[in-house]
């Protein structure tokens, strides 16, 4: 009995230090846990993205309160309308909403914006990149899991933030100005793999865009966007990255399609100086020259390209050569 009391007394005496130690240990575990729960928010403390203000709000971002389940069309309309497209959520429902899933898929959100001549660009999964885009004036569409107990996917648009008070501002659901702490926002956002997109006009390359990712975004848009927007997108990309082959080929093809043959030839000729070995450029320039009636130059060019046996575009080159030869023959034998 006494032994036990003594033990108990010793325990009590030691407790202030033990408690302190336990408290410190618990705090350390908690902090480490927090850091794991919101790693990117923690990283921002020491690595705030260069050149980004600590506080900013994009003015004039429209707000469309969503109907039930339709945060996808509402969020998409928000970024599209901001970029200058006169659109409301209603026509977008038929383009992104899936009745059985009662929601909208990320890929369809990307695809729908292209129809309106906007380039959909998925951001790198980084808090810093999201902040940079907002600071550059591009509202960012994000996918969050806002479920309390179950998974509940939700689209919202980030249109500002204030780092000193630790607040992210969003257009979200029925709230025109939803305020979320940086940490809570990260927790909801990280479950989607930090998925975020911007939809910008074709002459406006996002602040965080990389050359390859942007070109793929433009090429995806070129499938369905209005021709004028596609031309602008290729032209803008070519100005930013003059060595980019796809941008030059795409621009020339657009010019050719609208009948601006001389301009197309100019673009291809300039690109050939940068990529002298490109079979695509040789083939396309030969075709354009032939369409311009300069059959002699066209033939010389295509013969040169046809001389390379390991060419992946051999069949296209052969076809172009035949076209040129056919036209020469027609002109030669036809009435003068």
């Amino acid at each position: 009995m006494t032994g036990m009391i003594a033990t108990g007394a010793r325990l009590v005496r030691a407790s202030p230090f033990a408690a302190l130690r336990a408290f410190v240990a618990a705090l350390a575990v908690l902090l480490a846990g927090c850091a794991q729960m919101v790693p990117q928010t923690v990283a921002l403390r020491t690595g705030w993205p260069a050149g980004v203000p600590q506080s900013t709000t994009i003015q004039d971002v429209p707000f469309f309160p969503q109907d039930e389940y339709q945060c996808g069309p509402a969020a998409l309309a928000t970024v599209l309308a901001f970029s200058g497209v006169p659109v409301t959520p209603e026509p977008l429902v038929g383009q992104v909403y899936i009745p059985e899933r009662r929601g909208s898929l990320q890929l369809e959100m990307l695809a729908a914006a292209r129809r309106y001549g906007r380039v959909s660009y998925v951001l790198a999964p980084r808090y810093g990149d999201l902040l940079r885009e907002v600071a550059a004036g591009n509202p960012v569409l994000v996918l969050q899991d806002v479920g309390a107990l179950t998974t509940q996917w939700h689209y919202a648009v980030v249109n500002g933030f204030d780092y000193p008070s630790g607040t992210v501002y969003l257009r979200s659901g029925t709230e025109a100005r939803r305020e979320m702490p940086f940490t809570a926002f990260e927790r909801s956002w990280m479950r989607s793999g930090y998925w975020a997109m911007v939809a910008t006009p074709p002459d406006r390359i996002p602040a965080t865009a990389t050359e390859d990712a942007w070109m793929n975004a433009v090429l995806a848009m070129a499938r369905v966007a209005p021709a004028e927007a596609v031309t602008t997108a290729f032209e803008t990309a070519r100005q930013r990255w003059p060595d980019n082959l796809a941008a030059a080929v795409g621009l020339a093809n657009q010019l050719h399609a609208r009948g601006a043959l001389a301009q197309a030839a100019e673009v291809l000729g300039e690109a050939r100086q940068r990529h002298p070995g490109s079979a695509i450029l040789a083939n396309n320039l030969a075709q354009v020259l032939s369409d311009l009636g300069r059959q002699g130059e066209a033939l010389a060019l295509i013969e040169e390209a046809a001389a390379d046996p390991g060419n992946p575009f051999a069949s296209e080159i052969r076809a172009t050569r035949e076209t040129i030869l056919g036209r020469m023959k027609q002109r030669g034998s036809g009435p003068q």
């Binding site: 899933r101 929601g103 695809a111 129809r115 499938r223 076209t323």
Partner: protein
């Protein structure tokens, strides 16, 4: 039933195949000049698009709209979607109501079960 399904698929495939767009005559498309583009088989692409469109259709999307919606995706995106259209996150924001109802029901049950 099966025949109907087959016919339906065949029609969708033909719709895609016919609307297949290349650059204007004689020109190689810019897609081919992009560094990230691997060799692609056109037939596989058409099938993936038809498959994705019919999956959308099966989930309640209007058939013509389903076709247009798939047409606005890149090859890579179509392949990705075909793989996980039923599992991919679908942003909706309707479940909070359900969660509230469940919690309310639980409280009611535990409070009044005696």
């Amino acid at each position: 039933m099966n025949l109907k399904k087959m016919t339906c698929r065949a029609l969708i495939v033909s719709m895609f195949a016919l609307s297949f767009q290349t650059a204007s005559a004689g020109l190689i498309g810019a897609q081919q000049a992009a560094p990230a583009q691997a060799d692609r088989a056109a037939v596989l692409e058409v099938l993936a698009r038809a498959d994705t469109a019919s999956q959308l259709q099966a989930m309640g999307v209007d058939p013509l709209q389903a076709r247009d919606r798939v047409a606005a995706m890149s090859d890579h995106e179509v392949a990705q979607l075909a793989a996980d259209i039923r599992q991919a996150p679908a942003g909706a924001d309707g479940g909070t109501v359900l969660a509230v109802v469940v919690i309310a029901a639980a409280i009611w049950y535990f409070a009044y079960r005696r």
